[in-house]
Amino acid sequence: EDKVVQSPLSLVVHEGDTVTLNCSYEVTNFRSLLWYKQEKKAPTFLFMLTSSGIEKKSGRLSSILDKKELFSILNITATQTGDSAIYLCASEDSGTYKYIFGTGTRLKVLA
């Protein structure tokens, strides 16, 4: 059965800290891995990764994929209270157009 596992489940840090969120996957027909941020409402798209070792970056956020070890990480540097959210990762099954989501990591950044 295909699955996506995120760790840790929750994390509390102070402003200015750097955090690393993990996502491992077992997907038969893997094509891509996506990261989303969910605050109080709908998830919003952060990154899509398809190739190993190529870092994607947006401001203080960055992400990378390891297709050999079947995982991805999302790094957030110099965290701010506005980074507090649930971070979701999802893997696309290329055979079905379905996306399999992990349960998310709940990040809380304290001022």
Binding site: R31, L34, A42, F45, L88, E92, Y97, Y99
Partner: protein
Amino acid sequence: DAGITQSPRHKVTETGTPVTLRCHQTENHRYMYWYRQDPGHGLRLIHYSYGVKDTDKGEVSDGYSVSRSKTEDFLLTLESATSSQTSVYFCAISESGRDEQYFGPGTRLTVT
């Protein structure tokens, strides 16, 4: 923001009643999805559509049906609502089925 709306945004209904949730998009995207989100489970796919009248099941499709008679609308029906279907329901769209999904604002459904 992608043009996706969901209606209703909140609904309380009784066990055994039928319920229909609507997702409407103005982006002309081919792929549309219905998810439910529950604590400890993340987002789980209920059904998705890859074109008008073309739909397929997701991992938690029991008790749900869908219809897509035009590109912009994707309806999710609970034929006979149960308390286990109390959840937040999100609709999402994708242009190619191979790219990022854009999510609607969600519908909070409570079945009493």
